[in-house]
Symmetry: C2
Subunit: 281 residues, 2 copies
């Protein structure tokens, strides 16, 4: 997906939110914002929004001196989601269509996105879980469930820490030997990395690889060769969240996007409302 | 008033709104936005927001090739306000405190501000007029009315086209020989210029001068010598709207700001809510 004009003020808003999340030092904030403005004045709008997101968060890390500013947030939401895990698992086990219910919960987990909104809290997560179980899912859930059934080699690209516990619930409904789970190569916002996959026990379930990149999405040309091999060999790709949607939509593969829509540009691009739960192919 | 960090994404939003108001040509939009981003990457945050507004609208005019992109809007709102004029005048004449009522209406007219919001319509104007007559006015209205009574030399700095008809209603309640009315020196957004003062009959009431500048506010150091002389000599200055407030607050003169608050940064700076009607000294 290209960068729309409406993304531009939002990038600045995100950069401000991110740097002020990390530090209240006005000089650092001003330096980050001015660097971001300078790079944006030369940016290629044909590139996807996470390419600018990647740059913004590199600047936030560089100027704040923190290699992983969202570490506390990631740990907190991994822990909270693990607390919810037994109850969510019970909901799945008692439901009439376990795969449908687990998919709904995996999408609900996508609300834990500090790129789109840096004041996610437990109440928002609880509310989203309840909504996901009763809401109409936009897209083609039936098609997705059938595709899961016939796939032999699934690459499941995760998005955020905390959210990956919700992914774990879906993965547990599928044959472990057919699945590889992918995380980001380096910390960016609250996106899940290998540490989070270990902390939430996903590494004990399926093979986990990282993509070698610090973009908050999947910018294929800068992912590791290993990740690209897995991507190429998969006959079904599950891509979680807005960042993966923005970077992979248009790529010629059998990709299902599972996400909660959190921005007006993506809502318009997909043709739905903000807040909707999406299974998009 | 300085430029706050929160102004920065809003500048980009305003630049986008302004250029897309003038043209739908994507190349022109991209050129304006990138120029604005480049200049903003080097801006001095100690300067007031209208200094950046001035630059943004210069770029919009330069790249779109239109010297006065808001001409139609200005004419439309002058005409609409002149249609309302007899009824508004009757409200003032029948009220128990004519000066208070005329001041409320002058503030209501400040809603016709295409810098803050480019979809102002007649319904919004009608609603604001009704609200202004019944709402609590933040600040010190009594102090203002007393100051009007004792002033000998009033400089009344207008803001937008259309709005100046509401200013005319207030001016008509005051001794004409004590008042000079000031407009912008050149077109910027829908700010009133000499043409609007002529079109709405203000030039027939009081002396009208222009400030020689194309900033959407009063950036004293770049106003004409003549304007600065009037400014210096006045014993009471009435400054309408956000742009005049942002550029003049902090200046050591007896200035009363009459405005409707339309942005969160100004609301926070003043300590009130968005939408409030203000008489600030």
């Amino acid at each position: 997906m290209r960068t729309y004009f409406d993304c531009i003020p939002c990038f600045i808003r995100q950069a401000l939110d991110a740097v002020m999340f990390v530090t209240l030092n006005e000089n650092i904030c001003e330096s980050v914002i001015k660097e971001v403005l300078d790079v944006m004045s030369r940016m290629d709008l044909k590139k996807s929004p996470p390419v600018m997101g990647q740059y913004i968060h590199r600047m936030v890390r560089k100027f704040s001196g923190s290699l992983d500013p969202y570490k506390t947030v990631k740990d907190r939401f991994n822990k909270y989601a693990l607390q919810l895990y037994p109850a969510l698992n019970e909901i799945i086990e008692k439901s009439s269509n376990k795969l449908d219910t687990a998919t709904r919960l995996a999408i609900a987990g996508n609300v834990i996105d500090f790129g789109a909104n840096n004041d996610v809290d437990q109440a928002v997560v609880d509310k989203t879980i309840a909504l996901s179980l009763s809401s109409h899912i936009i897209g083609n859930m039936e098609h997705f469930l059938k595709a899961l059934d016939s796939a032999e080699n699934i690459l499941y690209i995760g998005d955020n820490a905390g959210e990956i516990v919700f992914d774990k619930l879906l993965i547990e409904q599928l044959p472990a030997d057919k699945i590889t789970f992918a995380v980001r190569g380096k910390p960016v916002i609250n996106d899940a990395t290998l540490d989070d996959a270990v902390a939430t026990g996903i590494t004990e379930l399926v093979e986990v690889i990282d993509n070698g990149s610090d973009a908050p999405g999947t910018v294929l040309e800068e992912c590791s060769e290993k990740f690209r091999r897995f991507f190429k060999d998969a006959d079904l790709i599950i891509a979680k969240g807005q960042g993966n949607f923005e970077t992979l939509s248009g790529v010629d593969k059998n990709i299902f996007y599972l996400l909660k829509v959190k921005c007006p540009v993506i809502a318009r691009h997909i043709g739905c409302d903000i807040g909707e739960f999406i299974v998009n192919n």
